[in-house]
């Protein structure tokens, strides 16, 4: 371990991908769903045509479990490779059941069953096995009634910190989905949004992965805009939204653009009674990964244009190929106060279920 790694970070890592294989979920699935997997070899639909991004698909090549299982599928190995050497205080699990149950086309019953099985597996296999790990409630959000039932079923678990929604082509801010937000708010759960396979190129897959991956933040911008202008945070004032794995450097542009549009077009959204950027600063937080390489000066310019250094939280995105190291991803020389905010204080302030950590140190 290098000198700089010897300093304890007190890290709250806001994006760690644990992974379930279907056989892991079988003990948690009722019939007939279990038989559809064992007998019919049911697989979720897959869309992304790229298998070439890096040396091991979309995972770190060194994160494959030594016994051959896929990256992220074994707690002991995650502890050995990530949690122990870095010294995580908290890791927030964001899943890898892709595509998300909320993104499945049709057969919402199967999506709902998968989400429930996943939650039970997540609690048994991860949350109850390592005190550092916190989780996300998976739902089949395209069926809000069943999604609310699932939030009611597992949402009160003390280590479930958020309801996870994929960023794809659904506009979650629309009133149809508001019962989900109402249920989340009732259980002190925030909303976490993570892109799944969003159609960032006019609904098509561009020729190259590099094109698609470069523009993922545009999908995040779509849903931020949708959530603000549809008045979700005016209707649910205690609700907050963590935007995961899209970075944050696009937000100065978007906040300025939304504020300008609001001056021109307020009449269309009269339920919004304050600047969109104020809503964003009060109700949203953005995970850092994948960080662009920046100098300290460039990084601080972005922070200044965000209008707050309290709405960004560090994330590694382990075990994905574009993992960010907490020791090397941020520009060197950042002030210690700012690093404390990025590494832990901002996440602690964001998640109500981490409030017991707020008074330490």
């Amino acid at each position: 371990m290098s000198q700089k790694q010897a300093t304890k970070l007190h890290l709250i890592d806001t994006d760690i991908h644990e992974r379930a294989q279907y056989k892991d979920l079988l003990p948690y699935l009722e019939q007939p769903y279990k038989r559809y997997i064992t007998d019919n070899h049911w697989l979720q639909e897959k869309h992304m045509p790229y298998t070439q991004p890096s040396v091991a698909g979309v995972d770190r090549a060194d994160a494959r479990v030594p016994d051959g299982r896929p990256a992220g599928s074994d707690l002991s190995f995650m502890q050995e490779q990530l949690l122990d050497p870095i010294g995580h205080d908290v890791g927030i699990l964001t899943g890898a059941l892709d595509p998300s149950p909320s993104s499945m086309h049709g057969w919402y019953e199967m999506a709902t069953a998968l989400a429930s099985a996943y939650n039970d597996w997540q609690i048994d296999t991860w949350l109850d096995q390592d005190e550092r790990l916190y989780g996300s409630v998976h739902i089949a959000a395209q069926d809000p009634q069943s999604a609310v039932k699932e939030i009611e079923r597992v949402g009160s678990h003390p280590k479930m910190v958020q309801v996870l929604l994929p960023i794809d082509d659904q506009l979650w801010g629309e009133p149809f989905y508001h019962p989900i937000f109402e249920a989340a708010e009732r259980h002190e759960l925030m909303i976490g949004m993570h892109h799944n396979e969003p159609p960032v190129y006019y609904g098509k897959w561009p020729r190259y992965f590099i094109e698609w991956h470069t523009l993922i933040p545009t999908a995040h911008m779509n849903i931020v805009t949708n959530m603000v202008f549809n008045g979700v945070f005016e209707k649910f004032p205690r609700l907050k939204l963590m935007m995961i794995e899209g970075g944050f450097t696009h937000m100065p542009f978007l906040m300025r653009k939304m504020d300008q549009q609001y001056k021109d077009l307020r009449h269309e959204v009269p339920w919004l009674k304050r600047k969109p950027s104020d809503v964003i600063r009060e109700h949203m937080c953005f995970t850092t990964q994948p960080l662009e390489e920046m100098t300290k000066k460039e990084f601080m310019q972005v922070m200044e244009q965000m209008g707050s250094d309290e709405i960004v939280s560090f994330s590694t995105d382990y075990p994905h190929w574009d993992y960010d190291s907490p020791f090397d991803a941020l520009p060197p020389g950042l002030d210690e106060d700012l690093k404390r905010k990025l590494f832990s204080e901002n996440a602690k302030a964001f998640y109500p279920k981490l409030k017991h950590l707020r008074k330490e140190r």
Binding site: P175, N230, G231, V232, E234, K235, Y262, K263, D264, L265, R266, H267, P270, W271, K273, K275
Partner: protein, 118 residues
């Protein structure tokens, strides 16, 4: 300094017209309750001629998502370019940000004359 900018009957409630006050182009508005107001005929945003816009109403702020309560018909001046809304009965304040307002002028009515003064 004072100047007759129009006649009372030139405007019905909810109407506006361009006029001049000294060297300034101004917009004279008559609100829904019959009062007269005058503003610099130049939007504070990018200088559009406000008299070419609309004197209309606006959905008032609401606590209910999806609800439109259209109020103040004849009292809201909307810029002809970007559509920004200004309340003529509230010193020309912008609805989206009350800290921003149009340049307004004092107005009085004497007999049939609408007079701007300072």
């Amino acid at each position: 300094m004072q100047e007759v900018v129009c006649q009372k009957d030139d405007l019905q409630p909810g109407e506006m017209m361009e006029s001049t006050f000294g060297r300034h182009s101004i917009v004279v508005c008559r609100s829904s309750n019959g009062e007269y107001y005058a503003f610099m005929n130049r939007c504070i945003h990018q200088g559009a001629p406000l008299s070419k816009g609309k004197l209309c109403g606006a959905p008032e702020p609401t606590d209910n998502v999806g609800e439109y309560n259209f109020v103040k018909e004849g009292d809201i001046l909307r810029c002809p370019w970007h559509g920004r809304e200004f309340d003529i009965t509230n010193k020309g304040c912008m609805l989206a940000n009350e800290k921003l307002k149009l340049k307004d002028f004092k107005v009085m009515v004497e007999e049939d004359n609408v007079i701007v003064y300072k």
